[in-house]
Amino acid sequence: MDISLEKELNMERNENIVVLDAGNGNDSLVSPEGFCCAFTFLFFAA
C-alpha cells in the first residue's frame, strides 16, 4: 500500500474523502509479483 499517498491525501484535510488505504495508487493494475497459486499456498511473494 502507498502509505505516503494515503498520508498526503489525508493531510489535505479533505472533508469529503477519508483515505483508509491508498492501495497501490494508480501505478499499475497488476504487480508482476502478484502471481501465486492459491491452491497450494505458494504465497512467498506476499
Partner: protein, 435 residues
Amino acid sequence: MFFYMHLSRYLKIYPCKDEPSRLLIYSTKSGASVLIPESFLASIEKGSIAPSDQESLARLGLLVPDSAAERKEMREALAEANRRRSLFNVVIVLNMDCNLACTYCYEGGMKGRHYMSSETASLLADLVERDHITHGKQIKITFHGGEPLMSIDLIIFLSERLQAAAASQGVTYSFNLVTNGTLLIRQTVEKLIPLGLTGAKVTLDGPRENHNRFRPFVSGKGSFDTIIRNMKEVWDLIQVQVGGNYTPENYRQFPDLLDFLLEEGLTPGRISLVKFDPVAKSGGHYPLPEFNEGCASTDEPWLVETSLYLREEILKRGFHTPRVGPSICMIEGPDELVVNYDGVLFKCPAFLGWPEMSVGDLRAGVRDYTDSHNLDVWKKDECLDCAYLPLCFGGCRFLRMLREGRIDDVDCRKAFLDETLEACLRQDLRHRPRK
C-alpha cells in the same frame, strides 16, 4: 484544465452500517479504500466535484478519464505485468516420497519412492541457466515434494550450480521450501541459508490432536510436537509461514492452534504469515481411494463462514495473513513453471495428477499451452465488466478442472466475493498495522 472523469468500473461501494450517510468505496484494481459522504457520490457521478477532489480520487484509481480505455487496459493487464516481470519462479517437485501419511494428500496415489535423478536435475539446471539466467531473470525456486527435505542432496546440487550461474550474470538466486516441517532442523537450515534459503512454509492442521489425526508420520505417530519444536529452532533464521487445511467439521478448533503458537513463543513477529485453507478434493487420475471429502469450489456455502471466521481469528491475534488483493493463477505467467521429479513440466502443482495437462518436458521444453489451458478464458464481456475481475482473473483453473474435467470456462468467484469481500476489507482495515 478540467477533465470530466468517470468512476472506475472496478469498484465496490458499500454502505456503512454505523454511519448511514457514508459509503465505503474499494477499488479492486488499486486496492484503495475511501470513505465518502453518500451525497458526494452523486456529485462525482454528475462530474460536479472540485478538481482537487477529482485529482485525489484519480490518484487512488477510483476515477478514470476514459471507461473504455480502462476496460481495454484491464484486458492487457496480465500481459503487461508479464512484460515487466524480471523474475523466473519455478516449483520443483523433488520427489513423491514422504515421511508423513496425510489422510487427504492431494498427490494421492502418485506417492511412492520416486525421486528426481541427477540427470534430470542437470537438465533442469541447464534449462534455468540457458533460458532464464542468461536473459537476466532473477531466479526464485520453491522446492516441493513429497517432502523436499528428503532430497536435500538435490537441493544443494541445484542451488550450488544455479547460485553460481546467477552470480556470474549479476542476478539473484533464492529458494524456499514447502515442507511438512518434520525435518526442518536448525542444522539443516544453517546449511541451506548460504545457498539461498529464505523461507519455509509448514503445515499445521489445527491443534495437536486434530493435526496428528490428519498428518501422522508413516509409522502412525503424531507429527505435531516435532514440527513445533523445529519451528522454535529456526524462526530466527528464515521466514516461517504456517498453512493449515480444515474441513467443515474441524475448523472451529484452529484458533486453539493460534493460541498454542502464542503460548510457545511463536508470536506474530516470528511467524511471517498464517493462512488456513479448506481441504481440496483429491482428483486427477490418482485420487486417494479412501478420502472422498474436500471441496472443489468456492461456491460451497460453508466456505463463507469458515474463511471469514478463521481470517478474523488470525488477524485479531496479530498474525499476518494475505490481504485482499489480486490472486492470479500461475498458468497466466510464462515465467512460472512446475517441474515434476521425472522432468515433466506443468503450469500448476495441482495438475501433477493430470498427465494431459503437462506442457512439455525438460528435453523438449515448454510447448504452446494456450488452448489446453484456455489462457484467455476471462477475456469476455462478463468478466471484463465485472468489478471483481482484478481480484480473480478467472479464478483457479484447477478447481474448474476438478468440477468439469476441463478448463472450459472461468472458476467464477462472484458469489463468494459477494458474500465475503466487504467483511474481509473491514477486517483488513480494522487489524492492519499502521506505520
